[in-house]
Protein backbone atom coordinates (compact mmCIF):
# COMPACT_ATOMS: atom_id res chain seq x y z
CA UNK A 1 0.00 0.00 0.00
CA UNK A 2 2.66 2.41 1.11
CA UNK A 3 4.69 1.69 -2.01
CA UNK A 4 1.73 2.49 -4.19
CA UNK A 5 1.05 5.73 -2.35
CA UNK A 6 4.61 6.97 -2.69
CA UNK A 7 4.57 5.95 -6.35
CA UNK A 8 1.47 8.08 -6.84
CA UNK A 9 3.16 11.00 -5.11
CA UNK A 10 6.20 10.70 -7.37
CA UNK A 11 3.95 10.66 -10.41
CA UNK A 12 2.18 13.78 -9.20
CA UNK A 13 5.51 15.51 -8.68
CA UNK A 14 6.62 14.47 -12.15
CA UNK A 15 3.46 15.81 -13.73
CA UNK A 16 3.82 19.07 -11.88
CA UNK A 17 7.40 19.46 -13.03
CA UNK A 18 6.31 18.80 -16.61
CA UNK A 19 3.53 21.38 -16.23
CA UNK A 20 6.02 23.93 -15.00
CA UNK A 21 8.29 23.26 -17.95
CA UNK A 22 5.38 23.71 -20.33
CA UNK A 23 4.53 27.00 -18.68
CA UNK A 24 8.14 28.14 -18.94
CA UNK A 25 8.27 27.23 -22.64
CA UNK A 26 4.98 29.03 -23.25
CA UNK A 27 6.31 32.05 -21.42
CA UNK A 28 9.40 32.13 -23.64
CA UNK A 29 7.31 31.94 -26.80
CA UNK A 30 4.90 34.56 -25.51
CA UNK A 31 7.74 36.96 -24.78
CA UNK A 32 9.37 36.38 -28.17
CA UNK A 33 8.72 38.80 -31.01
CA UNK A 34 8.86 36.11 -33.70
CA UNK A 35 8.33 32.34 -33.98
CA UNK A 36 11.08 30.31 -32.30
CA UNK A 37 12.76 27.03 -33.15
CA UNK A 38 13.28 24.40 -30.41
CA UNK A 39 16.94 25.39 -30.23
CA UNK A 40 16.08 29.04 -29.65
CA UNK A 41 13.52 28.08 -27.02
CA UNK A 42 16.13 25.96 -25.28
CA UNK A 43 18.64 28.81 -25.30
CA UNK A 44 16.09 31.25 -23.89
CA UNK A 45 15.18 28.84 -21.10
CA UNK A 46 18.81 28.70 -20.14
CA UNK A 47 18.57 25.79 -17.72
CA UNK A 48 20.46 23.15 -19.70
CA UNK A 49 17.51 21.14 -20.92
CA UNK A 50 18.11 18.44 -23.46
CA UNK A 51 17.13 19.45 -26.97
CA UNK A 52 14.83 16.43 -27.20
CA UNK A 53 13.05 17.49 -23.98
CA UNK A 54 12.28 20.88 -25.47
CA UNK A 55 11.05 19.26 -28.70
CA UNK A 56 8.82 16.94 -26.65
CA UNK A 57 7.33 19.83 -24.68
CA UNK A 58 6.75 21.86 -27.83
CA UNK A 59 4.99 18.98 -29.59
CA UNK A 60 2.90 18.30 -26.49
CA UNK A 61 1.82 21.96 -26.32
CA UNK A 62 1.11 21.87 -30.04
CA UNK A 63 -1.00 18.74 -29.58
CA UNK A 64 -2.92 20.52 -26.82
CA UNK A 65 -3.70 23.33 -29.26
CA UNK A 66 -1.70 25.89 -27.35
CA UNK A 67 0.92 26.44 -30.04
CA UNK A 68 0.87 26.94 -33.80
CA UNK A 69 3.83 25.71 -35.79
CA UNK A 70 5.20 26.11 -39.28
CA UNK A 71 8.11 24.60 -41.17
CA UNK A 72 11.24 26.74 -41.33
CA UNK A 73 13.95 24.88 -43.18
CA UNK A 74 14.53 21.50 -41.54
CA UNK A 75 12.77 22.31 -38.27
CA UNK A 76 9.49 23.65 -37.02
CA UNK A 77 9.12 27.11 -35.50
CA UNK A 78 6.45 27.71 -32.88
CA UNK A 79 4.16 30.60 -31.88
CA UNK A 80 1.51 30.67 -29.15
CA UNK A 81 -2.02 30.50 -30.49
CA UNK A 82 -4.05 33.70 -30.25
CA UNK A 83 -4.94 34.37 -26.63
CA UNK A 84 -8.12 32.98 -25.24
CA UNK A 85 -8.66 34.71 -21.86
CA UNK A 86 -8.55 31.58 -19.72
CA UNK A 87 -5.36 30.36 -21.30
CA UNK A 88 -3.70 33.75 -20.96
CA UNK A 89 -4.54 33.97 -17.30
CA UNK A 90 -3.50 30.41 -16.54
CA UNK A 91 -0.21 31.01 -18.23
CA UNK A 92 0.17 34.19 -16.27
CA UNK A 93 -0.34 32.40 -12.99
CA UNK A 94 2.23 29.75 -13.86
CA UNK A 95 4.72 32.32 -15.11
CA UNK A 96 4.44 34.27 -11.92
CA UNK A 97 5.02 31.10 -9.93
CA UNK A 98 8.47 31.08 -11.46
CA UNK A 99 9.26 34.65 -10.36
CA UNK A 100 11.53 34.57 -7.31
CA UNK A 101 9.65 37.33 -5.52
CA UNK A 102 6.21 36.45 -6.71
CA UNK A 103 4.86 36.01 -3.22
CA UNK A 104 6.40 39.30 -2.26
CA UNK A 105 4.35 41.30 -4.74
CA UNK A 106 1.10 39.35 -4.80
CA UNK A 107 -1.51 40.19 -2.23
CA UNK A 108 -3.07 36.76 -1.93
CA UNK A 109 -6.49 36.38 -0.33
CA UNK A 110 -5.35 33.42 1.73
CA UNK A 111 -1.90 31.93 2.16
CA UNK A 112 -1.16 28.24 2.59
CA UNK A 113 -2.33 26.34 5.63
CA UNK A 114 -0.37 23.99 7.80
CA UNK A 115 -2.20 20.83 8.89
CA UNK A 116 -2.67 22.46 12.32
CA UNK A 117 -4.19 25.56 10.73
CA UNK A 118 -6.49 23.44 8.64
CA UNK A 119 -7.73 21.59 11.69
CA UNK A 120 -8.19 24.88 13.56
CA UNK A 121 -10.21 26.42 10.74
CA UNK A 122 -12.44 23.37 10.40
CA UNK A 123 -13.17 23.56 14.11
CA UNK A 124 -13.88 27.30 13.89
CA UNK A 125 -16.30 26.76 11.00
CA UNK A 126 -18.03 23.92 12.79
CA UNK A 127 -18.66 25.85 15.99
CA UNK A 128 -22.16 27.21 16.43
CA UNK A 129 -22.61 30.98 16.01
CA UNK A 130 -21.68 32.91 19.13
CA UNK A 131 -19.48 30.18 20.60
CA UNK A 132 -16.19 31.46 19.15
CA UNK A 133 -16.60 35.17 19.61
CA UNK A 134 -16.14 35.17 23.34
CA UNK A 135 -12.33 34.83 23.49
Amino acid sequence: MRGKASQARDDAAGRRAAGELEAAVLAVLQAAASPLSPGEVRDSLGDHLAYTTVVTILSRLHAKGMLDRSKAGRTYVYVPVADEPGLAARRLARMLDAEPDREAVLARFVSGLSPTDEELLRRMLAEPPGATGAG
Binding site: A93, A104, V105, V110, L120, L121, G135
Partner: protein
Protein backbone atom coordinates in the same frame (compact mmCIF):
# COMPACT_ATOMS: atom_id res chain seq x y z
CA UNK B 1 29.41 61.21 19.62
CA UNK B 2 28.57 59.43 22.82
CA UNK B 3 26.73 56.29 23.76
CA UNK B 4 23.39 57.35 22.25
CA UNK B 5 25.03 56.57 18.92
CA UNK B 6 24.44 52.90 19.70
CA UNK B 7 20.70 53.34 20.36
CA UNK B 8 19.68 52.96 16.69
CA UNK B 9 21.57 49.66 16.68
CA UNK B 10 19.73 48.37 19.76
CA UNK B 11 16.20 49.57 19.03
CA UNK B 12 15.66 47.25 16.03
CA UNK B 13 16.02 44.38 18.52
CA UNK B 14 13.20 45.85 20.56
CA UNK B 15 11.16 46.38 17.40
CA UNK B 16 11.68 42.73 16.44
CA UNK B 17 10.26 41.62 19.79
CA UNK B 18 7.44 44.17 19.80
CA UNK B 19 6.30 43.74 16.17
CA UNK B 20 4.04 40.77 16.73
CA UNK B 21 2.32 42.01 19.89
CA UNK B 22 1.76 45.38 18.20
CA UNK B 23 0.33 43.70 15.10
CA UNK B 24 -2.17 41.92 17.33
CA UNK B 25 -3.11 44.81 19.59
CA UNK B 26 -3.40 47.82 17.30
CA UNK B 27 -6.11 48.33 14.67
CA UNK B 28 -4.60 46.96 11.44
CA UNK B 29 -4.49 50.27 9.54
CA UNK B 30 -2.64 51.96 12.41
CA UNK B 31 -0.39 48.95 12.90
CA UNK B 32 0.51 48.84 9.20
CA UNK B 33 1.54 52.49 9.12
CA UNK B 34 3.45 52.15 12.38
CA UNK B 35 5.28 48.95 11.45
CA UNK B 36 6.22 49.98 7.91
CA UNK B 37 7.34 53.46 8.95
CA UNK B 38 9.27 52.07 11.93
CA UNK B 39 11.02 49.54 9.75
CA UNK B 40 12.13 52.25 7.32
CA UNK B 41 13.23 54.72 10.01
CA UNK B 42 15.08 52.06 12.02
CA UNK B 43 16.81 50.68 8.92
CA UNK B 44 17.91 54.16 7.87
CA UNK B 45 19.00 55.09 11.40
CA UNK B 46 20.96 51.89 12.00
CA UNK B 47 22.65 52.13 8.59
CA UNK B 48 23.52 55.78 9.22
CA UNK B 49 25.08 54.91 12.56
CA UNK B 50 27.11 52.09 11.03
CA UNK B 51 28.30 54.53 8.40
CA UNK B 52 29.27 57.11 11.00
CA UNK B 53 31.15 54.55 13.08
CA UNK B 54 33.01 53.42 9.99
CA UNK B 55 33.86 57.01 9.12
CA UNK B 56 35.43 57.54 12.52
CA UNK B 57 38.02 54.93 11.56
CA UNK B 58 38.50 56.48 8.16
CA UNK B 59 39.30 59.94 9.50
CA UNK B 60 42.09 58.52 11.65
CA UNK B 61 44.03 57.34 8.63
CA UNK B 62 46.78 59.93 8.16
CA UNK B 63 46.47 60.35 4.39
CA UNK B 64 42.68 60.81 4.67
CA UNK B 65 43.39 63.59 7.16
CA UNK B 66 45.91 65.08 4.77
CA UNK B 67 43.48 65.00 1.83
CA UNK B 68 40.66 66.45 3.94
CA UNK B 69 43.03 68.95 5.57
CA UNK B 70 41.86 67.92 9.02
CA UNK B 71 43.69 67.38 12.25
CA UNK B 72 44.34 63.68 12.92
CA UNK B 73 45.12 64.60 16.53
CA UNK B 74 41.62 66.00 16.98
CA UNK B 75 39.81 63.14 15.24
CA UNK B 76 41.60 60.43 17.19
CA UNK B 77 41.28 62.15 20.55
CA UNK B 78 37.64 63.13 20.42
CA UNK B 79 36.01 59.94 19.37
CA UNK B 80 34.85 57.09 21.58
CA UNK B 81 34.55 54.41 18.90
CA UNK B 82 37.54 52.06 18.91
CA UNK B 83 39.15 51.04 15.64
CA UNK B 84 37.89 47.41 15.76
CA UNK B 85 34.34 48.67 16.37
CA UNK B 86 34.64 51.05 13.45
CA UNK B 87 35.98 48.33 11.15
CA UNK B 88 33.19 45.95 12.20
CA UNK B 89 30.67 48.71 11.53
CA UNK B 90 32.13 49.28 8.09
CA UNK B 91 31.94 45.58 7.27
CA UNK B 92 28.33 45.36 8.51
CA UNK B 93 27.36 48.42 6.52
CA UNK B 94 28.87 46.94 3.37
CA UNK B 95 26.90 43.72 3.85
CA UNK B 96 23.72 45.67 4.64
CA UNK B 97 24.07 47.96 1.64
CA UNK B 98 24.69 45.02 -0.69
CA UNK B 99 21.70 43.12 0.67
CA UNK B 100 19.47 46.19 0.42
CA UNK B 101 20.56 46.89 -3.14
CA UNK B 102 19.90 43.29 -4.13
CA UNK B 103 16.49 43.32 -2.45
CA UNK B 104 15.64 46.61 -4.13
CA UNK B 105 16.55 45.15 -7.50
CA UNK B 106 14.54 41.97 -6.93
CA UNK B 107 11.50 43.79 -5.61
CA UNK B 108 11.61 46.32 -8.43
CA UNK B 109 11.86 43.66 -11.14
CA UNK B 110 9.09 41.61 -9.50
CA UNK B 111 6.86 44.69 -9.25
CA UNK B 112 7.56 45.69 -12.84
CA UNK B 113 6.87 42.15 -14.04
CA UNK B 114 3.62 42.08 -12.06
CA UNK B 115 2.62 45.48 -13.42
CA UNK B 116 3.25 44.30 -16.96
CA UNK B 117 1.20 41.17 -16.33
CA UNK B 118 -1.59 43.26 -14.79
CA UNK B 119 -1.76 45.32 -17.99
CA UNK B 120 -1.72 42.23 -20.18
CA UNK B 121 -4.59 40.49 -18.41
CA UNK B 122 -7.62 40.09 -20.65
CA UNK B 123 -10.55 42.48 -20.36
CA UNK B 124 -10.75 46.03 -19.14
CA UNK B 125 -12.32 45.52 -15.71
CA UNK B 126 -10.46 45.45 -12.44
CA UNK B 127 -11.49 41.87 -11.70
CA UNK B 128 -10.37 39.01 -13.95
CA UNK B 129 -11.85 35.56 -13.57
CA UNK B 130 -9.51 32.85 -14.78
CA UNK B 131 -10.57 29.37 -15.77
CA UNK B 132 -8.65 27.36 -13.20
CA UNK B 133 -9.79 24.48 -11.00
CA UNK B 134 -7.36 25.46 -8.25
CA UNK B 135 -8.97 27.92 -5.83
CA UNK B 136 -6.90 31.06 -5.72
CA UNK B 137 -7.36 34.82 -5.56
CA UNK B 138 -4.82 37.62 -5.48
CA UNK B 139 -4.20 41.24 -6.35
CA UNK B 140 -1.48 42.01 -8.87
CA UNK B 141 0.17 45.31 -8.05
CA UNK B 142 0.25 47.71 -10.95
CA UNK B 143 -1.27 50.89 -12.33
CA UNK B 144 -4.05 50.01 -12.00
CA UNK B 145 -3.90 46.93 -9.74
CA UNK B 146 -5.80 43.94 -11.09
CA UNK B 147 -7.66 41.34 -9.07
CA UNK B 148 -7.44 37.74 -10.25
CA UNK B 149 -9.96 35.15 -9.03
CA UNK B 150 -10.05 31.58 -10.30
CA UNK B 151 -13.25 29.74 -11.14
CA UNK B 152 -12.23 27.20 -8.50
CA UNK B 153 -12.35 29.92 -5.84
CA UNK B 154 -15.67 31.25 -7.11
CA UNK B 155 -17.19 27.79 -6.88
CA UNK B 156 -15.86 27.31 -3.36
CA UNK B 157 -17.60 30.41 -1.97
CA UNK B 158 -21.21 31.50 -1.63
CA UNK B 159 -22.30 34.79 -3.17
CA UNK B 160 -21.98 36.84 0.09
CA UNK B 161 -18.58 35.24 0.70
CA UNK B 162 -17.48 36.29 -2.78
CA UNK B 163 -18.41 39.86 -1.87
CA UNK B 164 -16.04 39.57 1.10
CA UNK B 165 -13.24 38.30 -1.13
CA UNK B 166 -13.70 41.12 -3.65
CA UNK B 167 -13.93 43.77 -0.94
CA UNK B 168 -10.73 42.39 0.61
CA UNK B 169 -8.81 42.43 -2.67
CA UNK B 170 -10.18 45.86 -3.61
CA UNK B 171 -8.87 47.19 -0.30
CA UNK B 172 -5.39 45.94 -1.28
CA UNK B 173 -5.70 47.50 -4.73
CA UNK B 174 -7.07 50.89 -3.74
CA UNK B 175 -4.97 51.18 -0.57
CA UNK B 176 -1.74 50.38 -2.49
CA UNK B 177 -0.92 47.95 0.30
CA UNK B 178 2.03 46.53 -1.58
CA UNK B 179 3.91 49.78 -0.94
CA UNK B 180 3.85 49.11 2.81
CA UNK B 181 5.00 45.52 2.53
CA UNK B 182 7.67 46.41 -0.03
CA UNK B 183 9.03 49.21 2.18
CA UNK B 184 9.16 46.92 5.19
CA UNK B 185 10.85 44.14 3.21
CA UNK B 186 13.53 46.48 1.90
CA UNK B 187 14.16 47.73 5.44
CA UNK B 188 14.47 44.13 6.62
CA UNK B 189 16.95 43.41 3.84
CA UNK B 190 19.14 46.28 5.04
CA UNK B 191 18.80 45.24 8.68
CA UNK B 192 17.90 41.56 9.17
CA UNK B 193 16.93 42.31 12.78
CA UNK B 194 13.84 43.96 11.30
CA UNK B 195 12.59 40.79 9.60
CA UNK B 196 9.88 40.17 12.21
CA UNK B 197 8.67 43.73 11.57
CA UNK B 198 8.37 43.03 7.83
CA UNK B 199 6.56 39.76 8.57
CA UNK B 200 4.17 41.55 10.90
CA UNK B 201 3.53 44.21 8.23
CA UNK B 202 2.55 41.48 5.78
CA UNK B 203 0.07 40.23 8.35
CA UNK B 204 -1.42 43.62 9.31
CA UNK B 205 -1.95 44.47 5.62
CA UNK B 206 -4.10 41.34 5.31
CA UNK B 207 -5.92 42.21 8.52
CA UNK B 208 -6.48 45.73 7.19
CA UNK B 209 -8.13 44.34 4.05
CA UNK B 210 -10.13 41.88 6.18
CA UNK B 211 -11.48 44.67 8.36
CA UNK B 212 -12.35 46.67 5.25
CA UNK B 213 -14.24 43.68 3.84
CA UNK B 214 -16.06 43.22 7.14
CA UNK B 215 -17.04 46.89 7.15
CA UNK B 216 -18.22 46.80 3.52
CA UNK B 217 -20.33 43.71 4.00
CA UNK B 218 -21.34 44.75 7.52
CA UNK B 219 -20.84 41.23 8.87
CA UNK B 220 -17.64 40.25 10.68
CA UNK B 221 -18.77 36.64 11.07
CA UNK B 222 -19.42 36.36 7.33
CA UNK B 223 -15.98 37.81 6.59
CA UNK B 224 -14.37 35.31 8.98
CA UNK B 225 -16.21 32.42 7.36
CA UNK B 226 -15.27 33.55 3.84
CA UNK B 227 -11.57 33.62 4.73
CA UNK B 228 -11.71 30.25 6.46
CA UNK B 229 -13.56 28.57 3.61
CA UNK B 230 -11.34 30.13 0.95
CA UNK B 231 -8.24 28.95 2.82
CA UNK B 232 -9.59 25.42 3.13
CA UNK B 233 -10.52 25.40 -0.56
CA UNK B 234 -7.03 26.61 -1.50
CA UNK B 235 -5.45 23.88 0.58
CA UNK B 236 -7.76 21.18 -0.75
CA UNK B 237 -6.95 22.12 -4.33
CA UNK B 238 -4.06 20.44 -6.18
CA UNK B 239 -0.83 21.54 -4.47
CA UNK B 240 0.70 24.78 -5.63
CA UNK B 241 3.89 26.42 -4.43
CA UNK B 242 2.20 28.38 -1.69
CA UNK B 243 4.29 27.01 1.16
CA UNK B 244 6.83 29.75 0.57
CA UNK B 245 4.14 32.34 1.13
CA UNK B 246 3.06 30.62 4.30
CA UNK B 247 6.55 30.60 5.72
CA UNK B 248 7.16 34.16 4.55
CA UNK B 249 4.09 35.37 6.35
CA UNK B 250 5.11 33.26 9.27
CA UNK B 251 3.19 32.57 12.37
CA UNK B 252 1.91 35.92 13.47
CA UNK B 253 -0.58 36.43 16.18
CA UNK B 254 -1.84 34.22 18.92
CA UNK B 255 -5.29 32.83 19.15
CA UNK B 256 -7.16 33.63 22.27
CA UNK B 257 -10.21 31.75 21.16
CA UNK B 258 -8.73 28.34 20.48
CA UNK B 259 -8.02 25.38 22.66
CA UNK B 260 -4.77 24.81 24.54
CA UNK B 261 -3.83 21.88 22.37
CA UNK B 262 -3.73 24.10 19.31
CA UNK B 263 -1.84 26.79 21.15
CA UNK B 264 1.16 24.49 21.56
CA UNK B 265 1.98 24.90 17.89
CA UNK B 266 1.66 28.45 16.74
CA UNK B 267 -1.28 28.98 14.42
CA UNK B 268 -0.50 30.49 11.03
CA UNK B 269 -1.74 33.83 9.78
CA UNK B 270 -5.06 32.62 8.38
CA UNK B 271 -6.52 31.23 11.64
CA UNK B 272 -5.32 34.39 13.37
CA UNK B 273 -7.15 36.55 10.85
CA UNK B 274 -10.32 34.50 11.24
CA UNK B 275 -10.10 34.69 15.02
CA UNK B 276 -9.55 38.45 14.92
CA UNK B 277 -12.70 38.87 12.84
CA UNK B 278 -14.68 36.77 15.29
CA UNK B 279 -13.69 39.24 18.01
CA UNK B 280 -14.94 42.83 18.12
CA UNK B 281 -12.77 45.47 16.38
CA UNK B 282 -9.70 46.63 18.30
CA UNK B 283 -9.67 50.01 20.09
CA UNK B 284 -7.03 52.55 18.96
CA UNK B 285 -4.76 52.18 22.09
CA UNK B 286 -3.26 55.63 21.80
CA UNK B 287 -0.80 55.19 24.67
CA UNK B 288 0.73 52.05 23.17
CA UNK B 289 0.96 53.80 19.82
CA UNK B 290 2.56 56.88 21.38
CA UNK B 291 5.24 54.78 23.12
CA UNK B 292 6.08 52.96 19.90
CA UNK B 293 6.28 56.16 17.88
CA UNK B 294 8.42 57.76 20.58
CA UNK B 295 10.95 54.92 20.56
CA UNK B 296 11.27 55.05 16.79
CA UNK B 297 11.64 58.82 16.94
CA UNK B 298 14.40 58.39 19.54
CA UNK B 299 16.26 56.07 17.16
CA UNK B 300 15.94 58.58 14.35
CA UNK B 301 16.92 61.51 16.56
CA UNK B 302 19.99 59.80 17.98
CA UNK B 303 21.21 58.88 14.51
CA UNK B 304 20.70 62.48 13.47
CA UNK B 305 22.44 63.75 16.57
CA UNK B 306 25.38 61.45 15.95
CA UNK B 307 25.64 62.73 12.40
CA UNK B 308 25.59 66.35 13.59
CA UNK B 309 28.21 65.55 16.25
CA UNK B 310 30.44 63.96 13.69
CA UNK B 311 30.01 66.90 11.38
CA UNK B 312 30.93 69.29 14.20
CA UNK B 313 33.99 67.20 14.99
CA UNK B 314 35.12 67.30 11.39
CA UNK B 315 34.66 71.05 11.23
CA UNK B 316 36.69 71.47 14.40
CA UNK B 317 39.41 69.18 13.08
CA UNK B 318 39.43 71.11 9.87
CA UNK B 319 39.72 74.39 11.74
CA UNK B 320 42.73 73.06 13.66
CA UNK B 321 44.19 71.91 10.36
CA UNK B 322 46.55 69.03 9.49
CA UNK B 323 49.00 68.27 12.25
Amino acid sequence: MHLTVYLPLVLPLLAAVAARPLAERLPPSVATWLLAASAVVLALASSAVLGLLALTALVRIPWVDAVGEISGRVTSHNDPASVPVAIAAGALLTVAATAAARALWRQATALIAAGRQARRLPGAGQVVVTDDEAADAYTLPGLPCRIVVTTGMIRALSEPERQVLLAHERAHASGLHYLFTTAARLAAAANPLLRPVATATGYTVERWADEHAAAVTGDRRLAARAIARAALATTAAPPRPASRAASALGAVGALGAVSGQARMRRPGPVPCRVAALLRPPLPPRLLLLAVAVLLVAVAGASALEAALDFHALLEYAQAVGPS
